[in-house]
């Protein structure tokens, strides 16, 4: 009977490489100042005051309408998880794609027209918003 707890502990000890429980929090960048987004007015707000208010965006692209899109993203996520893994591969990649990292974040995108006037705000996954709203490269080739 005494051997049972010891055996369980031993089993836990030898399986610790592949069985784990994790509590993880990831904080990526900070949200805009409180009330900043609410103070923006499509049709009225201009690019320079928006940049002064919100700081540097995470990403910038040319919108399909020929204006500029500024993307602000941030993350504060807590995850609880249990993992059971069996290593099958000897190789590992430590590479990090910065663009992919930005695309996975949620946030807000501000769309400005060619004169720098705010026309629209959209919230969501930045990668999806970028793909949906950016000016296609073929548009430049056609001009």
């Amino acid at each position: 009977m005494r051997a049972l707890p010891a055996a369980l502990a031993l089993a836990a000890f030898v399986s610790s490489g592949c069985l784990s429980a994790t509590w993880r929090r990831d904080v990526r960048y900070g949200p805009p100042p409180p009330g900043a987004l609410e103070s923006l007015r499509p049709g009225e707000s201009e690019l320079d005051p928006c940049l002064a208010l919100l700081g540097a965006p995470l990403d910038v692209w040319e919108s399909a309408q020929g204006g500029i899109a500024l993307a602000y993203g941030w993350e504060r996520e807590r995850n609880l998880g249990f993992t059971f893994s069996i290593p099958l591969d000897r190789g590992a990649s430590a590479s990090l794609n910065v663009v992919d990292e930005r695309a996975k974040l949620r946030g807000v995108v501000l769309f400005f027209d060619e004169r720098g006037k705010l026309v629209l705000l959209r919230t969501g996954l930045l990668g999806e918003l970028r793909e949906e709203t950016r000016r296609p490269a073929s548009a430049d080739a056609e001009e």
Binding site: R2, A3, P5, A6, A9, L10, A12, F13, S16, L19, S20, A21, T22, W23, R24, R25, D26, V27, R28, Y29, G30, L47, D48, L51, A52, L54, G55, A56, P57, L58, V60, W61, E62, G66, I68, L70, R76, R78, V98, G116, R135, D140
Partner: protein, 132 residues
């Protein structure tokens, strides 16, 4: 044999309390200089002068006939505690970032900057960071 078992069998239990911990700090690119950013003057500073002041940008974006450069330095502070089967991790990344926008003549039109790389903190998942 019995005394051997008394010594050896509790060892895995003791191992439960022998965890590991780590602190790691990763910095990508040099921090941005507030003094250099203060020298940027919209309507006057050229793209060449921006590169002389801030160096090579991390990214260049073409905005039809205009363009924008991104300068970025990121600091990530990771902290972890490992108790045999249970891992507790926290990762906090903040960045110094500046976007400079040029008109079709390569003259600076707009600047947006955020300097917060130094705000990254070491913490465990239940601890408050950045006042939240």
């Amino acid at each position: 044999m019995r005394s051997f078992a008394r010594v050896v069998l509790p060892l895995p239990f003791l191992a439960l309390f022998l965890g590991g911990c780590f602190l790691s700090r990763r910095t990508v690119n040099e921090p941005l200089s507030p003094q250099a950013l203060a020298q940027l003057v919209p309507g006057k500073t050229t793209a060449t002068e921006v590169v002389e002041l801030l160096g090579a940008p991390s990214e260049v974006v073409q905005l039809h006939k205009r363009s924008a450069y991104r300068y970025e330095s990121t600091t990530t502070k990771d902290a972890g505690l490992w108790l045999l089967l249970v891992g507790l991790y926290n990762s906090d990344a903040h960045a110094d970032r500046a976007w400079v926008f040029f008109d079709e003549n390569g003259v600076l039109a707009h600047v947006g900057a955020t300097l917060s790389a130094e705000e990254a903190e070491y913490a465990l998942p239940w601890q408050e960071v950045h006042g939240r």
